[in-house]
Amino acid sequence: MAQFSIEPAVVAERVPRARRFRVPGEALAGYALVSPAVLYILVLVAYPFFLALYLSLSNVTVAGGFGGFVGIANYLRIIHDPTFIKGLENSLSFTFFAEVGKSVLGIGLAFLLLQSLRGKKLIRGLLMVPFTMPLPLALLGWKWMYDPQFSVINRVFGDMLHLMHQPYPVWLGDPVFSWFAILIVNIWRGFPFAAVIVLAGLTSIPKDILDAAKVDGAGFFRTWHFVIVPLIAPILFIGLIYDVTFTLSDITIVDVLTQGGPNGATETLPMLAYQNGIIGGNLSSGAADALILFPLLFAGLVFFLRMLFRRTVEE
């Protein structure tokens, strides 16, 4: 009971440690409390994941049932399929150009939001609407804006500003324009998220480091390149990985706007997986179409893990 003679702060440090040591059931209780979460993840994430792997390596259809284990035959077949090649190409190009667009717009916006502004909360709230509004619902607005006859984009840039000439593009009916239409919505949806990620990084930079850079005579771009970017790199990478994961695997934009059309021009791997696996009932093909994304996603996952662990170790 010597502990009670020590000052309170120290008691608080010590008592629990001593107590904890005396409770042998604590670890057990801990595991019991976490087990529902673990169970949920095991049954509804891990198990389906391995099931997907298994499906992609065998021949299963909704109608025909299990048709035997076929190894990597599904993968070999799909990589020789021109539709698949187009889907892969589009998935990668949409993701790449969308990330470039979101980064440029997002970094710009983050610096604007750093300034002191009147009504900043409201402005920020309005700027975030593309990201916070459920995507399938926002897409209906875009579908109307891309309408073949009454597209407001054509009316504004063509009839009103005279920057476009007749015949106006049929946004979702032309192979080139539909590709851009999908890309534009991707960027519109994601740039606010890029901005808040960059903003979170910028506001985490300690003031004295920036002062030091200033004292040393570094201008804005030098400070950005040599001081800010290295400091906020972890948060930028994590934001990027998150966003790449969900851009690469998104089906919503293509499904609501074009369903992969016209003539496969906006086909992506998620869309193919859905068309083959659910609409076509060929579970194995669908699983293979989706799982081919996994190596890409896995690289991101490993990177994410390393970041997270480096941080928690430092803690």
Binding site: P48, A52, L127, A138, W144, L297
Partner: protein
């Protein structure tokens, strides 16, 4: 404006502004912001305008697309609520989201507490492992999950299928959030309760939980809004109209063939969309903190 100090010092990089430079910078700032606002909000404004306009105004080329000629009205909303399944989808959405909220909290409050406070060997690894499952996108899982839900759980074509699967993406997130909140509750107050003779359960129930209410509310509303963002699972698992949620009901059923009823369609998208966007906005910072594992704090 000179009285308000700049929020952070990143914004004060570069040379010291002269009054002229300052004026120029301020106006550039506002011009840029207005451009951003137009890009972000134009689709929403246009949706709103289009739902309020009379049908004929939508296709009349003499009408300015940003404005209207015939009187505005709420007929499209009336039609939506009286002639379509929209109210049913709305109800389904709320039921699904509320159940997901309940399941998520029931699992994440004890789990988060255990990972944050109890001496559990490997707690950190377990937490990171669960959190990482958030990065496994639904597209990798939807085909087998659909089979599982239909065959193993017997929930084919039912909104309860969504109640079952949505926690797969709310749990990783909310567990991580709850863990963070519990870590921030000072250990001293819990220890004080233990010293005063409470057992662990009493200390948690009487001291820790009441202090953590803001955190619990955040995680709950978060699960609620996250459940309203999904499209793929709802599209794949539920096909009968009376079981659909808004996110799939509106795009799949209010578009009838090639004929679009834009007024109703946009009203149906806008009403829940804006509501959810509004709520989500308050929790955006937690979302960012969650994703970055709190690095940006």
């Amino acid at each position: 404006m000179s009285a308000t100090p700049a929020r952070t010092d990143v914004s004060r990089l570069g040379r010291r502004p002269t009054p002229w430079r300052r004026l120029r910078n301020r106006s550039l700032l506002y011009v840029a912001l207005i451009l951003y606002l137009i890009v972000a909000c134009f689709p929403i404004y246009y949706m709103l305008m289009s739902t309020l306009k009379a049908d004929y105004d939508l296709i009349d080329p003499s009408v300015n697309p940003f404005w209207f000629k015939r009187p505005l009205g709420l007929e499209h909303f009336q039609y939506l609520f009286s002639q379509t399944n929209f109210p049913i989808w709305g109800l389904n959405t709320v039921v699904v989201a509320a159940c997901v909220l309940g399941i998520t909290l029931a699992i994440c409050i004890p789990g988060g507490y255990a990972l944050a406070r109890l001496r559990v060997p490997g707690a950190q690894h377990l937490a990171v492992g669960i959190f990482l499952t958030y990065l496994i996108p639904p597209i990798l899982l939807f085909i087998p999950l659909n089979q599982l839900v239909a065959n193993l759980f017997n929930l084919e074509n039912s909104r309860w299928a969504l109640v079952l699967v949505y926690p797969t993406f709310t749990i990783p997130f909310c567990l991580w959030l709850m863990m963070g909140f519990f870590k921030r509750v000072p250990k001293e107050i819990e220890d004080a309760a233990l010293v005063d003779g409470c057992n662990r359960w009493q200390a948690v129930r009487r001291i820790v939980l009441p202090v953590s209410v803001p955190g619990i509310v955040t995680a709950g509303i978060f699960a609620f809004t996250l459940a309203m963002q999904d499209f793929l699972y709802a599209l794949v698992m539920v096909s009968s109209s009376d079981q659909k949620v808004i996110n799939t009901g509106v795009p799949t059923e209010l578009i009838r063939g090639d004929v679009y009823f834009w007024g109703e369609l946009l009203a149906a998208a806008l009403l829940p969309g804006i509501l959810i966007a509004f709520v989500y906005n308050f929790f955006l910072d937690y979302f960012v903190q969650g994703i970055t594992g709190g690095i940006g704090k």
